[in-house]
Symmetry: C3
Subunit: 277 residues, 3 copies
């Protein structure tokens, strides 16, 4: 597996984001919009949020990548996302879709179909049930939380990668990243408290956008982004718990870790497997 | 009063939220939407935010309770709230209304009337002037802050409870919870700094939604939710002040306390009175 | 310069905001709306956010100042801002405009023109490239970050002050505040980490709104607001760094500092120059 992807490759991508500070255009949801901007800044990227139909294509035109997140979708915002995905495809910049709550309502499913038809995203990231639902599997989502294990969703992820010819990330206790060329990475970092802060999954998606802007191999970029968040997440949760604190303090410490994590600590902690399947 | 409601009853509700993790659908304001999601998660509930007219009734259909908050209302969002309140009434799940800034503008008052006409909420929570204004009392609100004492608003709360046949909470230095059956609880926890963090009142409303999802007696559920927030609030303010910190640090510590507060500390601090009037 | 403006004058304004708790109506962007409310509260002001066309003029009618921020503009929100700016001008209350991302897209530039035509704001605050673009200078903005130095933008600021007959603030490593009467103040506080938290510039604008509500000399009020944020910013960054923490922890400490900063520490740190040019 070492020949496919090494921890040092991941760190090189983390360093590249910090050095090149890519501009990431995000059309994201109202719950996480502030956190996602702060996550991008802490990791060294530069966020811009814009959704007006009149400017969304122009903003894509100055960005290095696009992130689209349907968490609090409505018809106006879905059209913004559609325009932006088309503009990104036309310009050849990477795009990332987070199908938050896929399967929760018929409208949400229709909107995801519409976005996939507009332009296939370079990467799609979701939890198990979101990826299964996006892939067309019959599954009931319990709100925006996952009711399917990440492992169960691997087949769906591979089918979806076939359809988009792109990279699919299924996040969970273990994160899986597959692509249309049969590559498959697994990351076993993270902490249970990460599910107790709103928008950590959405933040992962934002980071994938930043990493795709500096690393043209989207499967590798996605793996690097998930590794950074997993390591920073477990580090911040451990630090909060050790101080008798909880998920509120952890949120601040997570941003600290995204900013200050060094190579030595990253390499010591990251648990990566990569293979062809 | 012990026969009506005891501190141990309140703790049982807190434990039930943690254990059952109810899905709370919130249509809330843009200022507090992130904090409210995090407050629900820290308390053990599961938040979902959705406002598109095309899906709002479907989302109510998978939730255990509904929270509606008019803080940053506009015509689109008011219609979302109306659809959701009707769907919740039809399904028989509890709904909570936070009439933020009631009395501040004529439009705000009209929207509140419209929501009350759509379907009477199970619980309404506001500060003194918001409850007085919602009850139809002639009062000038100073923005979204209260210019009437909680005590002055008790008569208005009782009149409003008569109209909705539900539970009304007037929050302030002392929180009052009354219902249409003449029950009245008072909580004397909290801290002045709680008014220095935006959205603490709205967070109280969110918690009421979570508690109503696990405790069918809405008056008791509302009292339990307010008690949890009051105790967590005073604990976090005291901890911040003791460390030479202020309201910024307190916000993180508040989430920590919602997550980690234990029965012993809760019972030691809670100051509850309950009676029939 | 001492006769124009002294550090003690600035502190007097900080104390006045804390004492008088002005109601500041903000129509701001979705990324920073929560932080800006918390910044206003920590500084002692009282925020209200409202954007519905049906109530925006009424809300201006009970506020002491208006803040308008175009960060996540769309047609509905731009019209809200236009109505509010006209209402503020009619009532004679101060208004502050933050032209976030000016120059990034043609639509953004058109909206700024439209807002300036609606009613000249009392104060405009932006980074160097935003002020240059707002003044009509030909400049390419890199998203919402500044690609022009604050110094380069001084000429543009003076031209813009001539047009609006108001006060213009160009923020950067050194903050500059100029007005149509040829007054010019400079502040050399702050910390590089302030650019690593989203919405710090927007928070500066919010504080300017609060200070204009209690200090009728808008040039002085703007200088006082920028001084408070600069001192609180460097203090919180130093404290975070000293504790081995980063920008996540710094955000909480910044709110703490806005709330708890005392006169002695402020006067010890503030680096003010004021002159006629």
């Amino acid at each position: 597996m070492t020949d496919l992807l090494t921890p040092s490759d991941l760190w090189a991508d983390i360093a590249a984001v910090r050095e090149r500070a890519p501009l990431v255009h995000s059309i994201t949801n109202l719950v996480v919009i502030n956190l996602n901007a702060n996550v991008l800044l802490a990791a060294g990227a530069s966020p811009v949020m814009a959704h007006a139909h009149e400017e969304v294509a122009d903003m894509v035109g100055i960005a290095q990548s696009l992130v689209v997140n349907i968490g609090t979708l409505d018809p106006y915002w879905v059209e913004s996302m559609e325009i932006a995905l088309r503009a990104a495809a036309k310009r050849g910049i990477p795009s990332v879709l987070d199908p938050v709550g896929a399967g929760a309502t018929p409208y949400r499913n229709q909107c995801i179909e519409r976005l996939l038809d507009a332009a296939a995203p370079t990467v799609i990231r979701g939890n198990g049930s979101e990826i299964m639902s996006t892939a067309g599997a019959a599954i009931r989502t319990r709100g925006v939380d996952s009711s399917a294990g990440a492992n169960d969703a691997l087949d769906a992820a591979r089918a979806l990668a076939e359809r988009t010819r792109g990279t699919i990330c299924v996040s969970g206790v273990t994160d899986h990243v597959v692509d249309a060329h049969g590559r498959w990475s697994q990351l076993s970092n993270g902490h249970a408290w990460m599910t107790k802060i709103t928008g950590i999954g959405c933040s992962a998606t934002s980071l994938v956008g930043a990493f795709c802007a500096v690393q043209p191999d989207a499967w590798r970029a996605t793996t690097s982004a998930m590794a950074l968040l997993g390591v920073a997440g477990e580090l911040s949760a451990e630090r909060a718990a050790a101080a008798g604190q909880g998920v509120g303090s952890m949120q601040a410490l997570l941003l600290d870790a995204l900013q200050l994590l060094d190579e030595r600590e990253f390499l010591r902690r990251v648990r990566l497997e990569a293979q062809r399947c």
